[in-house]
Subunit: 400 residues, 2 copies
């Protein structure tokens, strides 16, 4: 069995944590100087363990195994959310390095901008499977400050470099280790999660057009209060979605903006950012149907016109059964009874790589379920256990 | 009967409109150079029509009638909301000048900051009745840019000036002419409104404390979604308030803020700005009781704690019956059948002056009900009719 070097694995993680350190977390937005420093640091690690390192035109850092196959691809992302945790993404990349150090035939990749600092998001994993067009790169801008993606690439020294594509037939599968970003494992006292699939997120913008008026001079009967129409639709969603959702569906209103937002002004316009997630397309479609019916009903009843626009519509990614079985067997060996199968509620690079090859993911617990925050953390014994199970699972799958 | 000089009245209004002109409206925030220019312009007009002009330490511009009483006080405010209409406030001040020009025994006053550019609002009318303390002036800051009120007063050259108080027993009553800031008159094809009372606004801040989490990793059963608790409370208000409100009550949610407001983050905190208005204290108290009961119910049912804080609690002001009768008789004479009695849904200086003397208000229509916007307008024949009815009503009341 391939044994990972636990001490070296943790040392790598802590070294990477120092780049862009922010409190106990990190701040490494995509293509920032800190992010580029992390990518160069990774290239040195890849070279160290005998892989052939390169960085392509979208910022993907790739370490190619020089020996014979069959190969696995292992990785995740290395940039962070703003002022966020040290493990989100970094863990899966450094675990890849650990597997390479243990002598496994793996290529390691850090995919650029999984976190979506730029419009579109998942730039690296979409680019490497050939689903990111030059036109989209031309259009995309930073969600933080509006900088065009082209400008950011040029500033990072990546302009004009070719973008790497996956070599067809080279990999038997893709493995991504990641923190759970939820409380399931932590609350249940479990140490590992074998991921069954990655939910798709369907995002919506719902706009209500009413009439801005003085809150004193306009009677209730005359008003076209866009905020009130929004509240009524959201209350209807709260009532109806439980009837059509799946067992693990989630739906979230992240933002409500009333325009102009003064205490004494009837909102003339309201905008709602709404999303739902599930691993099952029929369930997603049922939720969409319900949302569309509720918006139609709103337009029949309310004085303010509601418009529904879909911002994004992803496809759920199911994890490969044989890879899940290999990870499950490894988990049961190293932590008997302390693991479970579970869907991933968050999006991951694996969902795009799964379009080209079998893919699987392994979760370790997030303490208190915290993520996308600098306080994010995981116990070191769980990190080490996860990495060893990943290595063991990789070996079992390559043998199988 | 006192005849107003319609041409001169309109010329004054249009002259004042040029100061701080913005599109077809004006931008004269309190104590801005434009506002101070308007106040000096007014002092010249007051002197012109034989009144003794002065400006006090809060910016109130006062024109004192030199002859014998009994006197009336006539006025409104002269600053505007940001980028707002040319008539809101200005009309009542220039109408006062017109009454003075017509020889009526009136003092004319432009009260500072009715519009509440500074915290507290109604600085001038509260100051002149002795209900604005030095401590409040020390504390108050601009709602636009945070400038301390003391600094703004000094920059306007008003630091150290005494603040004028109403002379007890001098006035038989106060008259304020104003645009309606609503659609009642315009929609009904009426030309005048005799105001029965000014509603009180009770304003509230409702804060919900939940738990900020990743929208993918956190199941519906685990969430503490502060935004959802807010939506449920607002839906309950929408359901329950019609059962306890008065005939002309209004209630408005002007702002909903979900924190942090990202599309994929469960809001950990939600803040709602909510207000209701009525002329009747028992009705206001019934609405408050209902709001408090709904917040208690929210705290029993929801996972997020709701906290209710009252931001302001005014007293409704009822207009004097004899003054209303005088205005009504004048309205019926000049525009038979084309006027109505109505409450004012918006706040006005008259609500404070009414604490010291009988007070009444006369409304003219706002075209399309527009106000607090530069497009605000009123037909000139309605302006002239209103001013003549105000003069006639003043004379009838002085005689009565």
């Amino acid at each position: 069995m391939a044994r990972i070097d636990a001490e070296r694995f943790l040392r790598d993680l802590h070294e990477l944590r120092r780049i862009g350190a922010y409190k106990t977390g990190v701040h490494r937005p995509t293509y920032s100087p800190q992010d580029m420093e992390a990518r160069r640091w990774l290239m040195d690690r890849l070279a160290e363990c005998g892989l052939e390192p390169s960085m392509d035109g979208i910022g993907n850092v790739y370490g190619r195994h020089k020996g014979a196959g069959p190969h696995l691809l292992v990785g995740s992302h290395i940039e962070s959310q703003n002022h966020a945790g040290w493990l989100d993404g970094a863990l899966g990349v450094v675990a890849g390095v650990a597997l390479a150090r243990a002598g496994l035939p793996v290529d390691v990749c850090a995919f650029a901008d999984e976190e979506g600092h730029f419009e579109g998001g998942f730039l690296g994993s979409r680019s490497i499977i050939g689903e990111l067009s030059e036109e989209e790169i031309d259009r995309s801008r930073s969600r933080n400050d509006g900088t065009p993606l082209r400008e950011a690439l040029a500033a990072a020294g990546l302009a004009g470099r070719p973008r790497m594509q996956l070599e067809a037939g080279r990999h038997k599968g893709f493995l991504e280790m990641h923190i759970e970003q939820g409380t399931q494992l932590d609350k249940a006292g479990l140490r590992l999660g074998v991921v069954t699939g990655i939910v798709a997120i369907w995002q919506w913008r719902i706009v209500f057009e009413g009439q801005q008026d003085h809150a004193g001079g306009t009677t209730m009967a005359e008003r076209k209060d866009a905020g009130l129409s929004a509240v009524r639709l959201l209350a209807a969603i709260d009532r109806e979605f439980p009837r059509v959702c799946g067992e693990r569906s989630t739906w979230t209103t992240g933002r409500i903006t009333l325009d102009p937002g003064g205490p004494s002004i009837i909102p003339g316009r309201a905008e709602v950012l709404f999303q739902f997630r599930d691993v099952s397309v029929p369930v997603l479609e049922r939720m969409e149907e319900t949302l569309r019916a509720l918006v139609r009903e709103s337009n029949r009843r309310e004085r303010c016109a509601a418009t529904l626009a879909q911002i994004s519509r992803a496809t759920p990614a199911l994890c490969d059964e044989a890879m899940q079985a290999a990870l499950a067997a490894a988990a049961e060996q190293h932590a008997p009874g302390l693991w479970q199968r579970m869907p991933s509620g968050a999006g991951h690079d694996a969902q795009y790589i799964a379009r080209r090859m079998p893919a699987a993911m392994l979760f370790v617990p997030s303490i208190g379920g915290i993520s996308h925050h600098w306080a994010e953390d995981t116990r070191e014994e769980d990190l080490v256990l996860g990495c060893q199970v990943l290595a063991d699972g990789a070996e079992r799958y390559l043998r199988g």
